[in-house]
């Protein structure tokens, strides 16, 4: 198929948008500019192109086109996934995420604290136990349970030792 000027124009617009997209991604993840724009998107382009070529070779009327379409979709998602993974695996992205989390915690932390203290105040006024009091009680029960279990284990050990000693004593010739 020969390329018309409209196709060429469309193609150059597409390339430009991809280049701008790449620049945006690189800015986001804090990576330096690369001269070869296609390098960043190549995994996705390459696979998509291969699949479309295969689909066109098969002929659009074949019912297998659905299978091909599914494969195209899977491979495109896979390629996108690789691109995202590449972007998210950078120090820049990790730093940006860390900053976002830090800001979120800065906002949420004081809010949680004030909500907790007002809740506790309300519950105290109503003569009801606060969440902290209930969890403290539960923690005490847990530690009591642990101590009981430790005692149980020690008793089991002692019983085992006693039965071993009894076995030795009862054995003929044992003293």
């Amino acid at each position: 198929m020969s390329e018309t000027p409209i196709n060429q124009e469309f193609f150059s617009v597409w390339i430009r948008s991809m280049e701008q997209g790449m620049e945006a991604w690189l800015r986001l993840v804090g990576q330096p500019h690369t001269s070869d724009a296609s390098q960043f998107w190549r995994p996705m382009f390459g696979q998509s192109l291969d699949i479309w070529t295969q689909i066109l070779k098969q002929g659009a009327g074949s019912p297998d086109v659905l299978v091909q379409w599914k494969r195209f979709l899977d491979d495109s998602v896979d390629a996108w996934s690789k691109v995202l993974e590449q972007a998210m695996g950078t120090e820049g992205f990790a730093a940006a995420m860390g900053k976002f989390l830090d800001q979120y915690l800065n906002a949420v932390g004081p809010m949680r604290k004030s909500l907790q203290s007002s809740n506790e105040e309300f519950l105290r006024t109503m003569n009801l136990p606060s969440r902290k009091q209930v969890t403290d009680l539960a923690s005490q029960i847990v530690s009591l349970e642990a101590r009981l279990e430790a005692l149980e284990t020690r008793i089991e050990d002692l019983v085992e030792s006693i039965s071993l000693i009894e076995g030795v004593v009862k054995r003929p010739g044992g003293t």
Binding site: P63, D74, T90, E91, G98, T135
Partner: protein, 363 residues
């Protein structure tokens, strides 16, 4: 016109008919899935509660008549994050069912779902207090002196710590996708780096590692996962078996559970940020953890497309222990593909059970 179209018009009609029927089935099954929303029945292999310690429970699976191997297996899964019924998803697609059928005396440690009252739980307690009690109960119940420790994901790391501190009762160790070299931990290694993440601030704010934050972290690892899952569901919607598996797996995949605060603080700092299992210096319960103390036969299974725990992070275990009988398997699939799904039952479980069976002769 292409060759395939001109030579087989009958074939074309047949395929079109097949596709039309599938689409009708997709539509009707899709409606059924949306409107009926029956709770999938998971965890159906018969089991018995052997011991309970706070939230953690020890279960023994199968019946006495099924058990052929004298050495019991204790499976230690991840703590928090998700529920352990993934190992016993539903009949015909259950790792535990497979192991029971293979004649193993199989135990599962369910760490439980932790609440705010457990926020003080540490890795020290898990490794030096909970695990020893559970191992003891397994040995006593099975009247055995040794067992096979099978760790999955975080459970393998905890199990490795336990085995290095108490090597005597561990006859064999199996690591299924468990991280050991945390600096090879993929995206998590980058995101949890101490330069970017102030874990103290997170835990001091929430007291725990909330389930919602865990969900966010896992979704971020593979943002396209939900799209893939949905397109695969649509594609296979006509297939009852696929839908049954999807419903059960989807229930599990969306049921995140929190991690106790102190446990998570220690997990991130000492394991991910300082990589102490490899670099040394990990002290649990006052005892120094040295993986070189592990001398028992070791099987490590990594998954080729595992983006949660990259295979090389698990593989590192083979170089850290002193075992002479070590085997490493790298199988196709992802982190979950090792323990659930058709691929697992075909490629993974038979190899794991065969490896353990060969080493489960005498207790």
């Amino acid at each position: 016109m292409t060759e395939s179209m001109s030579s087989a018009p009958g074939e074309l009609t047949r395929k079109l008919q097949e596709e039309t029927i599938r689409n009708v089935l997709r539509f009707s099954k899709g409606m059924e899935l949306v409107h009926r929303r029956q709770e999938p029945r998971v965890g159906q292999t018969p089991r018995e509660l052997i011991h309970k310690k706070n939230k953690s429970a020890l279960y023994r699976y199968g019946h006495a008549s099924d058990r052929r191997h004298p050495v019991p297996i204790l499976m230690v899964p991840n703590l928090g994050i998700s529920r352990p019924y993934i190992f016993d998803l539903y009949p015909g697609s259950s790792f535990i069912e497979h192991m029971v059928r293979e004649g193993f005396d199989f135990y599962l440690l369910d760490w439980g779902v932790f609440g705010d009252e457990d926020n003080g739980l540490t890795i020290d307690e898990c490794v030096t207090q909970i695990l020893p009690v559970m191992v003891r109960k397994v040995l006593k119940t099975s009247a055995s002196r040794e067992l096979t420790l099978l760790g999955y994901c975080m459970g393998a790391s905890l199990g490795a710590c336990y085995s290095s501190l108490y090597p005597e009762p561990v006859k064999n160790f199996v690591n299924l996708a468990g991280p050991l070299d945390f600096w090879k931990g993929g995206l998590f290694s980058v995101w949890l780096d101490k330069r970017h993440l102030d874990i103290d601030k997170v835990i001091d704010t929430f007291g725990t590692m909330p389930a919602e934050m865990i969900r966010f972290g896992f979704k971020m690892l593979k943002p396209t996962m939900d799209l893939t899952t949905l397109t695969n569901l649509w594609w296979n919607l006509w297939d009852d078996r696929y839908v049954e598996g999807f419903v059960a797996l989807n229930k599990w995949a969306n049921e995140f559970t929190p991690i106790p605060g102190e446990f998570y603080r220690q997990w991130v700092k000492e394991f991910y940020q300082e990589n102490k299992l490899v670099n040394g210096g990990l002290v649990l319960g006052g005892k120094s953890v040295d993986l070189a103390n592990i001398r028992c036969p070791l099987l490590v299974v990594g998954a080729k497309q595992d983006y949660i725990i990259p295979a090389e992070s698990a593989k590192a275990m083979t170089e850290l222990v002193s075992s002479t009988d070590t085997e490493y398997l790298e199988l196709p699939g992802g982190h979950i593909s090792l323990i659930a799904g058709r691929g697992a039952s075909r490629n993974v479980w038979p190899r794991v059970s065969a490896w353990i069976a060969r080493r489960s002769g005498q207790a």
